[in-house]
Symmetry: C2
Subunit: 282 residues, 2 copies
């Protein structure tokens, strides 16, 4: 799915994939930044708990956002494809300044929301300036190409990752979550090996990429973001690789960025950020 | 990859995925129609043999198009990522009224062309009105979501198909080739099961989908095209399925169309075409 068209004179909202297990207390850097972007106590945040099979996920995040001082919190309870066209669900999304996709299974998101009126409403809202955050499974779903599932490990390999179409708020990036915690560099390298036009974004837990309307990504949180850029890849043996056999990839550019760092996918440039530089020169 | 932007007042060229093993003689309905679209003897066709590991594939199609009366045929010999930025390759693409991607391996296309200047040139050419055809692997590559590889069989299943980003001339469709000959309904259903926003296009051999600037697809050739439309899918168990186990998908709409039939993805309507209707009423 291509991103919805942004109308002249408008800017799309931020897209904020979060690596999972984010701090949900008053000390939370990620959720507080999200809430602030959305208008603070004037914010209207709609929680979409579709990825989760647990009945109380929506209510849990409702409390979290209330406790962070958000004025209006709604829950779009979408557990089936029929729900995704229901009036009450579209009403919950209507007027939101921020939309939050919870964790769970990203294939629940794509199988339940794919091609529905609710998915279209979220895509159009983002193009009209509404900020969309997603954690864990919700993070994987925001992009056009989504990691559906895969294997653990640091090295790429034929068949290590299965991609599926996601929500498509943005293109070109492919997001992985719980990155360091679940040893997922191999599957992200595999995705980039399949088609090097992709830029891989590996998000550690409690770490978010705040992707602005200019597509520049800023790191917020306690972990790191691993950027895997295939733009200057010289050789990939992925086309002739066999199941379980090692593959060859040359000249992939990797950046590991921490809080305050940023990456510009158009210029393909990483910036460590003022804080990291200060620590270096101290 | 999203399709390149079509400038106001312009129309994108046709996108023509072919199911492989197309007739290459003077009797060929598919290649003759492609040549005619591209300007007949005034056509300038550029052959891109990247999918093939055989050295003579480009020369072979060069002869085929010469024999069909094409005025100018060039070959963009791209066997490595370095080739994909070479001056001689961009010169071969320059001025083409039609571009033809040969068969072979679609992962060779995505790993060698993905994110390169040559890929960008083809995408921009199509947006500016140049017709792009691809057979077999070349057919799979034209879309944003490409079937990289998968298993044979009629039933869908977890892990039956691996998707990768393709060239992205068009979005929303996913193309499979040698469809009836290699028993591929299962893997196409699996792809649609992952995200029902996709429309699956299963192309038999010697059968092509001529996709016009309005996205309407017309069938040309001796076999059939199987359209798998997930738009009204009610339930998919793909999110909870396990490797090798059966999955549940309800309310998928399937059309099997033959020469002269058409499908409009915006209205989600199939039309058997005048010839099929005439045969019925005879």
């Amino acid at each position: 799915m291509s991103p919805s068209r942004v109308r002249p004179g408008h800017q799309r909202g931020f897209i904020i994939p979060v690596g999972g297990a984010e701090d949900k207390t008053a000390a939370s850097r990620i959720l507080k930044r999200f809430v602030s972007l959305c208008g603070g106590r004037h914010a209207a945040i709609c929680v979409v708990p579709t990825a989760s099979a647990l009945a109380d996920t929506g209510a849990r995040y409702e409390r979290v956002f209330h406790d962070l001082g958000v004025g209006r919190v709604t829950v779009a309870d979408i557990a089936t494809r029929a729900d995704a066209g229901a009036e009450r669900v579209l009403a919950a999304l209507e007027g939101a300044t921020g939309i939050f996709l919870t964790g769970g299974s990203q294939l629940r998101l794509s199988t339940i929301l794919g091609g529905t009126v609710a998915a279209q409403a979220i895509r159009r809202a983002n193009a009209a300036g509404v900020h969309v955050a997603g954690t864990s499974a919700g993070a994987g779903f925001v992009s056009d190409h989504m990691i559906a599932f895969g294997k653990e490990g640091g090295s790429p390999g034929h068949g290590m990752v299965t991609l599926a179409p996601g929500l498509g708020l943005t293109n070109r990036i492919v997001v992985d979550q719980h990155f360091r915690q679940r040893d997922r560099l191999g599957r992200l390298l595999t995705a980039i090996g399949y088609n090097p036009f992709l830029v891989g974004i590996g998000l550690d837990e409690d770490t978010a990429a705040f992707i602005g309307p200019d597509d520049v990504l800023e790191v917020v949180g306690s972990g790191a973001i691993t950027i895997v850029d295939g733009g200057s890849l010289e050789f990939s043996s992925m086309a002739s690789a066999h199941e379980g056999k090692p593959v060859c990839l040359t000249n992939i550019v990797v950046h590991v960025l921490i809080d305050g760092g940023s990456y510009d996918p158009h210029r393909r440039k990483a910036d460590p950020g003022a804080a990291a530089r200060r620590r270096e020169s101290a």
